[in-house]
């Protein structure tokens, strides 16, 4: 029997990263400030999680401007979307396997 835990992605092993990915799955892109409000965490904490996801090719950063203010938005990459879907499936399998 295959152990479903093997399919759980270590990268998503945190509530904050799950939150980030959930938001990016249902929105075309999400700004840094919106993510901060959604997850109610500090700038530094959010930035470090975003960096880890970006370095692993899960998300992409877009820098733009609203007027003169910089507006940084994030979006999930194709790889990221696939990995997150697989993670959700693994979670579902975990629940079913023990029933």
């Amino acid at each position: 029997m295959i152990n479903p835990i093997e399919n759980l992605n270590k990268l998503f092993d945190s509530r904050i990263r799950l939150g980030i990915m959930s938001a990016l799955m249902v929105n075309a892109d999400v700004s840094f400030n919106d993510l901060k409000e959604l997850l109610t965490i500090t700038d530094g904490n959010l930035a470090s999680h975003l960096k880890a996801l970006e370095e692993n090719g899960i998300i992409k950063v877009q820098k733009g401007f609203i007027g003169r203010k910089t507006n940084t938005t994030y979006l999930a990459t194709k790889t990221g979307e696939k990995a997150f879907r697989a993670h959700i499936e693994a979670l579902e399998k975990m629940i079913r396997s023990t029933k």
Partner: protein, 215 residues
């Protein structure tokens, strides 16, 4: 915590975060009840003017004079216009207050990306509807006013449900069904309006409140 419980919590967390980031979910059922109550009070106040028991003009002399010229500004001299404007303002303000309180309780900021998205998508059918209503009044097509209000508002709600609570869709369907029935019984537009904007709002609000907010 067992792995199973952990997975279940994670999935629920994912679902919650997806909803929170894409929909405006602070809309309170009490807002529906408040807006519906305003609409019913407005309808009761307007009744004698609609059915000719009271003079429709605030200033009869000026009103009659303008009515002869057929100028559109005559509407500003009617009680009905002011009752409608006041009812609308009261409904929006009271609805806003309860939703504001709920957003505070949920610790979600009231104004953000989701609120803006909802506003834009509600405004599109409502603004077009408003322009259409002005044209109906100018053309003196009074019978069509109530069903037109219900149709545009119903469409706005169906549209809004994609950006807010899913159940708004059913409130929208309710308004649209009323509008279609109203088209069969044109002379009763006033009552259909009161049922749609008054009773349906209150029923929707009460259901939503008991389902999600009652403690």
């Amino acid at each position: 915590m067992s792995g199973q419980q952990q997975s279940l919590d994670d999935l629920q967390h994912i679902k919650r975060m997806m909803e929170r980031s894409s929909r405006f979910i602070s809309l309170s059922g009490l807002s529906g009840i408040a807006a519906g109550t305003c609409a019913l009070i407005g309808a009761i106040v307007a009744y004698p003017y609609v059915y000719g028991h009271k003079d429709i003009f605030v200033d009869a002399a000026a009103g009659n004079e303008l009515a002869r010229t057929g100028h559109f500004s005559v509407i500003l001299y009617t009680w009905l216009f002011w009752i409608a404007a006041f009812t609308f303002a009261a409904a929006v303000i009271s609805a806003f207050i309860f939703t504001y309180i709920r957003s505070k309780k949920q610790h979600i900021p009231l104004w953000g990306t989701t609120a803006r998205r909802l506003m834009i998508n509600v405004a599109i059918p409502l603004i077009v509807g408003g322009l259409f209503l002005i044209k109906l009044i100018q053309a003196n097509d009074i019978g069509l006013i109530a069903p037109a209000c219900l149709i545009f508002y119903g469409l706005a709600l169906v549209n809004a449900s994609k950006y807010s609570l899913n159940e708004l869709r059913y409130l929208g369907y309710g308004q649209l069904i009323l509008a279609v029935i109203n088209l069969k019984f044109m002379v009763y537009g006033f009552y259909f309006w009161a049922i749609g904007f008054g009773v349906l709002h209150i029923v929707y609000g009460a259901v939503m409140w008991t389902r999600y907010e009652k403690e």
